[in-house]
Amino acid sequence: MLNRIRQIPLYILAILLLLFTGLPFFVMVSTSFKTQIEFMSAPWSLPESFSFENYRLLLESEFFRFFFNSVIVSVISVVAVIVLGAMASYPLARMRFKLNRPLFILFLVGMMIPIHTTLIPIFLLTKNMGLYDTIWALPGPYIAFALPVSIVIFTQFLKDLPKELEESAKMDGCGPFRLFWKILFPLLTPAVATVAIYNFIQIWNEFIFALVLTNSEENATLPLGLREFYGQFSVNVPGIMAALTLGSLPLLLIYLVAQEKIVKGIAAGSVKG
């Protein structure tokens, strides 16, 4: 009994923090089911009847174009980061050469660089490459800025694999590329998961490169599209809330399914970074 009473402050604290973190979500989701008239008369009360009208309108809008742009850009970038990052980590982790340490540090430095420092040259570079205002402008910078963390994670993991793996493969006459893809890469699965999760969240939500490197609505990614919606329909609060809810849904759903993995991936990705 005494223990129970002692726990009361803990519960109060836990519930206060729950309100702090959860209330904005709750407000967002519940408002999205209201009609505009209902919102006007009682902005923050619970919806009286669940109206899916806002969501129906979203389905008819450009929303899914933004969504697909985001999917394409994120998937391409994450896959490329995994392939390029893992490959680059192989010599850095398992071979001795003069430039090994300097190159690794060069990649490390990338983690503290404010991306804004590169924004203007990347903007001009993208224009010169003829990629400006296409979704293909985005994977380049996304990959480049995701490489440092990914390389740190991969090299750490590769260093821990036993040396004998390569020696026996080399004895069997296995070339370096086959050795890497057939023998080492399959063993990297946990690191691949970490890299994929960490970078997917970052890239899915990325805003400033998308803002600067694309212009027309048809090439907007989801964050940009949400802002577009807000600009056009800011008076229609329930409509905007529906867009925000739907836009946040993919990551939240993935999170519900793979909570432990995501939490671990983020912890590993940032601490090593």
């Binding site: 490959m87 203007i120 990551l251």
Partner: protein, 328 residues
């Protein structure tokens, strides 16, 4: 290599019985194998590292150098008319009071991040280890803000802070604090604090995750031993948990400081630096100068200053960390 070996054998066979002594073959062969392997290694290194280095070099290294180069020019960025101005942009920058306001706001954000996000994250992480029922549920909700895109958060909080129907004002009304009600983002005095609170909401869960991972890593035996000695839970926290969390606290501080120095998205969406530059940050000011006012040269000088400041701050932290490690 194989050819060489054959030759050697043949020669040896021919001269069998003669008094001529051949030098031992081993050093020559090893030398050549080494050379060949080195050459092969070189191509493996290039093949594996090359693609990543190319992209990284182009988008990161080259771009930083070019930012510095552009910052030396008077240039709109729209046409090709560039006038070399030397360090004029930097001289203008030093006299630009908006830049100083933005720098000040960046450091305010750094301080606020350290003082709110980290402690809050630590409290949340510790709560996750307390004997509370339904902890999994609490944890799931606590973490959710971090998964939302900054743009979505910005838009959501614009409505939350709204002067007419915002929920902050509604709650204040319920509590009988009508005099506190205001349009939080439209007010020069409160806008920056409203933004800082939002940043805290977004990132506290992230530090919770880092601290949780670190606490999980603390060996259980330490607590068991302390319990045997009859240590109170407060003492256990101060003598075991906290000291062992110091590396994580340092990592988190670095992340938090660097994050605050390059903050952009939320401010851009919520206030765009306003009202009257009161929430301007270096990044938003750079964006405004470059892409709204078309002063690409001047914008580049702000960009490059951000880089130097971030580099400088990181170096200071690293030096301090090394000293601390040396002292231990």
């Amino acid at each position: 290599m194989e050819n060489n070996a054959k030759k050697w054998n043949v020669e040896q066979g021919d001269d069998r019985g003669s008094s001529k002594v051949y030098p031992p073959p081993a050093p020559v062969r090893v030398d050549q194998t080494k050379k060949k392997r080195k050459k092969q290694d070189f191509w493996v290194i290039v093949g594996f590292l090359g693609p990543a280095l190319l992209i990284y070099g182009l988008y990161v290294i080259y771009s930083i150098a070019m930012t510095f180069y552009y910052s030396l020019f008077e240039w709109s960025g729209i046409d090709t008319h560039m006038v070399f101005a030397g360090l004029q942009n930097y001289i203008t920058l030093i006299g630009d009071h908006v830049f100083w306001t933005s720098l000040q706001n960046n450091f305010l954000l750094v301080a606020a991040s350290l003082l709110t996000q980290l402690p809050l994250g630590l409290i949340m992480a510790l709560l996750l280890f307390s004997p509370i029922k339904g902890m999994r549920f609490f944890r799931s909700i606590y973490f959710m803000p971090f998964l939302m895109s900054t743009v979505a958060i910005g838009i959501l909080f614009i409505y939350i802070y709204d002067g007419n129907f915002g929920i902050v004002n509604q709650i204040l009304g319920q509590l009988g604090l009508e005099s506190w009600q205001r349009g939080w983002l439209g007010n020069e005095e409160t806008a920056i604090w409203a933004v800082i609170a939002t940043v805290c909401w977004q990132f506290a869960p992230f530090y919770m995750i880092l601290f949780r991972a670190a606490i999980v890593g603390i060996p259980e035996e330490l607590y068991e031993a302390a319990e045997m000695d009859g240590a109170s839970s407060r003492k256990k926290f101060l003598k075991i948990t906290l000291p062992l969390l110091i590396p994580t606290i340092i990592t988190s501080s670095i992340l938090s400081i660097i994050g605050a120095l390059k903050y952009f998205d939320l401010i851009y969406v919520m206030t765009d630096g306003g009202p009257n530059n009161s929430t301007e940050l270096m990044a938003t000011y750079m964006y405004e100068q470059t892409f709204t006012n078309f002063n690409m040269g001047y914008g580049s000088s702000i960009s490059f200053s951000m880089f130097i400041i971030a580099l400088f701050v990181t170096l200071i932290i690293i030096v301090f960390d090394q000293k601390r490690k040396g002292a231990n």
